[in-house]
């Protein structure tokens, strides 16, 4: 099996899993697909080395999250200021688009308001069930930063979706 075939097999088997994480990071499926495709490209670029790593799944996640942060950094530099921004996202393009499920909408809406890195930390910690150490490793930041980002993110979530959290408490 050539390394391309091997990579295609690996990518196909992990695509859905990565898309879910990407969706939570991006808030819509189109951007999530772009992010996963970018991550796949980066992985294939160095696949001959990647395939030898002990935990390729963890590596794939790491690439995905780092691609997300890098892409957003670049976006910031490419942003052109305009006079006004419409308040509402176009149908099907905003955070939470594509789901009727109320919990997903609440979640993605809340995540959208978090800074990029805090969002990545929260998704890794609470969606992918990464430990503080694993999250720090995946994002290339210190464990202290992970803890402080998590605390700030949770505080922000508390102020923004407190009612939803209380609903969960009532469950």
């Amino acid at each position: 099996m050539s390394d391309e075939d091997e990579f295609r097999e690996f990518a196909a088997s992990r695509q859905k899993q990565l898309l879910r994480s990407a969706y939570l990071l991006c808030g819509n499926w189109h951007s999530a697909e772009d992010l996963v495709q970018t991550a796949f490209g980066q992985m294939f670029r160095s696949w001959r080395r990647v395939r030898r790593v002990e935990y390729p799944d963890a590596y794939a996640k790491q690439v995905l999250y780092r691609c997300h942060l890098t892409a957003n950094r670049k976006k910031r530099f490419a942003t052109v200021p305009i006079e006004s921004v419409p308040d509402l996202a176009a149908p099907g393009a905003g955070f939470g688009a594509g789901f009727d499920d109320g919990s997903v909408a609440v979640l993605t809406e809340a995540l959208a308001r978090l800074p990029d890195r805090a969002r990545a930390v929260v998704v890794l910690r609470f969606w992918d069930d990464y430990s503080v150490a694993q999250t720090a490793d995946a994002l290339g930041i210190s464990q202290g930063t992970v803890k402080s980002q998590t605390a700030r993110a949770l505080a922000l979530l508390r102020t923004r979706i407190g009612d939803s959290l209380n609903d969960i408490r009532q469950d």
Binding site: S2, D3, E4, F7, R8, A11, A12, Q15, K16, L19, R20, Y23, L24, W29, H30, E33, V36, Q37, T38, A39, F40, G41, Q42, M43, F44, R45, W47, R48, R49, R52, G98, F99, D101, S103, V104, V106, L107, V122, F126, W127, A151, L154, A155, L157, R158, I161, S164, L165, I168, R169, D171
Partner: protein
Amino acid sequence: MTEQDTERVKALFDQADLDDVPTTRDLIGPAVAWGHGRRRRDRWTAVGVTGAVAAVAVAGVVALRPGADGAAPVGPGSSMSAPQASPSIQRELTTLRPFLPAGYSLTCQNTEGAFCEMFVLTGPTGGTSLMQWSAGVDLPPPAGPTTLVDAVHIHKATALLPVGAGARTFANGSMAISAYDVEARNMASAAAHDLTDPAEIVYNQVAYTFTPKGSTRTYGISMSELVKELPWKNGKSEFPDDHARLGYNPDGPVLSPEQFDQMASAPGLRAALDQVVIWGNQR
């Protein structure tokens, strides 16, 4: 934020039903195509080729064996789709072949579009170099990289590999030569722990940039090839076609600066190179 709130956020994530993942397009195919392109660029970036040469010198590491018809059928262990013997590739080869020295042959190893991305030049003794052509206006000769990765070294002429970095003057113009030696550990197909001597020089790359007298145009070629077998610990390569993928000639580039000067001085080559580079830019 209490521990209880943390649990609630976890529960919120747990409740989110993301089972239905829509896929609207192929994500893997374009990623693989992009990755192939980046691998080629990585090879030259690692060597630090800059400026005019870097613009065209997108070297490839592909598992294709050149065929007699100028196109490259898929070889064993190939990781690339085979380039088609398209009319445009045949046109490039037909345009360039008449200018080669006697006994040399030119084939196409790989293409990403309708045109040849990487040529293979075969010398009279059977040695091969991967090759690319360049042409430009007002391009200064390549000054060489300011920094090199630690596994790449500027090559100085030796008895075994006589083409060293520097400049030559010929009757019809001047030639800037950049030349590099690459250690085995820097080869994309090899990891240091797989090699008996990761620091062994196994690969050589040169670029000749010819500037005709009184002209601002430059014409160049870049060549690269294995000059030694990679020192695999298990005695054999994971890739059975290293020679076809990377070129192989123990004497270094199959074309000497003198030969390229003769080619560059031949009537018509410059126009032919201009044409091929324009075609190539259409990819």
